[in-house]
Point group: C2
């Protein structure tokens, strides 16, 4: 029988952070596609639209008028999924009908006053303002809430309902499913190995090299061994860092540059404004601020849906929803494609 | 403070089958939507397209010509994600880089010779052939494989790449994530309560009534208390049944009628060919056929993406991917909307 080759033969890979298995079908990217084609992201966004509630000086649905902001701007989500106050559900005594309190605070962070710009096209110094805003939100909301989820949905295909560059912050009175699993897996790994899982992981990836995409003084961008989405990546600090607010000034500057570079690579892959969901996961906050969280390592994850081109995405549907995540190429193949892309944005070619 | 009202106040609900929590934000359906609008499903599909590899008499990519079939037709997927043979990855000794063998068999089940028909528009006796085919596939593939996932992706928005009515069967040499969790939760519940979880659950829902949508002699269609997708539902037999092949003749006939009715209700909700992923979960097969699986109860799940209309879906994106599933109305509100819809298909109105 043929020798096993991960780029040819289907296999499972284990995600030790999320405690799930991924089906890897490296041969499957070759199948023809007659399914849904997405609209490529529009390039005709006006720089300023007085009707867009995320723009400077625009009126929001609640009647407030935005200031004439020039860097980042943060406000409370006008249609929040979670509210700080309100009554709690009664204790559930039936294990099949359990509910629990859910409080929180939902905020929106505009990255820049212009609607026709995205993070990779912004100046590094303006990205640094975004990093600083993430940190101040994490600190402020982390006082009261156990989990502060910073996330960006970029692109209409990712459910983003407003083209103005922005991210969201949803603070929660509870530890949601995903971080709760990562809390458990990292705690167990630390108890067993005496080192944080992701610190160990990065050390090994720096030796193996085949999944690295970009390295800077303080950060490493890679395709995790267990990636699920076709071009899923993870951004890790080289140092052991628990939370965004623990980054030092050099690390924050370097992060701003790294974000510009990595998002440029993403845009260059299919020469389109690359859709994705990104988010930060670090040690939980609230009561956890007083606990030992050294099993945690700060990391950002990027889940982009595109698979073949600017208009054909990977659908995580029937089998994936009912059984297990599945991918159509290996993490190493994705890393190699990303690694070969230029750091100059395709929109700036020849300029 | 106001009294807690599940239709007004955000809360968490626990899914005891999948062991996760869902954020329920009942007030959030009111927010305006300026985001992506899907194409409504096309109504102009030709009944027969000799170029469509799923049609009778058409040639498939592997050169085989389909028979002139008149009911269901099953063939091996020409671009399978899993293969029966092939080499296995070496044992992994590093807990951060674990892979495992993945073998399987991927098959396609055409429901009907016509491309311009869907399950709810088919005759009950033709749906019965589909039920029988599901059963024979489960039996045949279940001999060798631990898990046989039967699933239908309906609609381009659900990644369906061919409009011809069909489902897929992916048999796996391993128990995938979702069924592995359900195996554990149902086993634990049975050990503690001496009854299968979903048998208990149905008993209680039949008394509470608020989440029931359709009842027949042998089947109940309901919105589970812990539903995630806006109009997610579950179909349960009234009797304790481990696997599709354990259904008796009456139950199979009644299931065929129930499927026609429930899918008609779905189509009538937004007067569109309703997109969804559906799948069957019953006791595992392969070596499990010789084990006591009485903690399992057969059930079908339906995950439809539409939220507000035929063209606006729920995006499970940033917060949902990074933190926790979230829904914008309660299970009871969805059940009530579905319950109020007619059993006559909107395409047959006035005919
Ligand atoms: O096999 P199909 O219908 O071409 O493909 C569809 O279903 C598969 C199983 O859920 C998914 O992996 C694919 O992403 C999706 O497009
Ligand atoms: O808040 P937005 O951007 O309008 O909404 C988007 O992100 C939210 C958080 O991931 C999701 O719940 C919505 O389904 C999505 O459309």
């Amino acid at each position: 029988m043929a020798q096993f080759n991960p780029s040819d033969h289907p296999h499972l890979r284990y995600n030790p952070l999320s405690d799930i298995w991924i089906v890897v079908s490296p041969h499957r990217a070759k199948r023809p596609w007659q399914g849904q084609v997405e609209k490529a992201s529009s390039e005709n966004i006006p720089r300023h639209d007085p009707k867009n509630p995320l723009c400077p000086r625009a009126e929001r649905p609640n009647g407030q008028v935005n200031p004439d902001y020039s860097q980042t701007y943060v406000f409370d989500n006008d249609f929040p999924a979670l509210l700080p106050g309100g009554p709690d559900p009664p204790e559930s005594d039936d294990p099949l009908f359990r509910s629990a309190p859910a409080h929180g605070h939902c905020r929106v962070v505009c990255f820049h006053p212009w609607s026709d710009i995205t993070l990779p096209l912004m100046d590094v110094k303006d990205i640094r303002h975004v990093v600083d805003t993430w940190i101040s939100e994490n600190v402020a909301l982390g006082k009261d809430f156990e989990w502060v989820q910073i996330f960006e949905n970029r692109g209409a295909v990712m459910g983003c309902s407003n083209p103005h560059p922005h991210c969201q912050v949803w603070a929660c009175s509870f530890l949601p499913n995903e971080p709760a699993v990562k809390e458990r897996t990292q705690r167990e790994y630390f108890a067993k190995n005496g080192q944080p899982m992701l610190v160990n992981y990065l050390e090994k990836e720096l030796i193996k090299k085949e999944r690295l995409v970009l390295e800077s003084t303080h950060w490493v961008w890679l395709v995790p061994y267990w990636a699920t989405w076709p071009f899923e990546t993870m951004l890790l600090p080289r140092r052991h860092v628990l939370r965004l607010q623990d980054l030092n000034d050099d690390e924050k500057n370097d992060l701003s540059k790294m974000l510009k570079n990595l998002l440029t690579v993403y845009d260059n892959l299919f020469e389109t404004s690359f859709p994705y969901c990104m988010g930060w996961h670090g040690a939980p906050t609230g009561k956890y601020l007083n606990e030992d969280c050294s099993h945690w390592q700060l990391h950002a994850v990027f889940y982009p849906p595109l698979l073949r081109s600017a208009t054909v995405k990977k659908f995580m549907v029937g089998f994936e929803m009912m059984a297990s995540a599945q991918r159509d190429m290996t993490a190493e193949q994705s890393a190699e494609r990303l690694r070969n892309l230029p750091l100059v944005h395709y929109k700036h070619h020849g300029s």
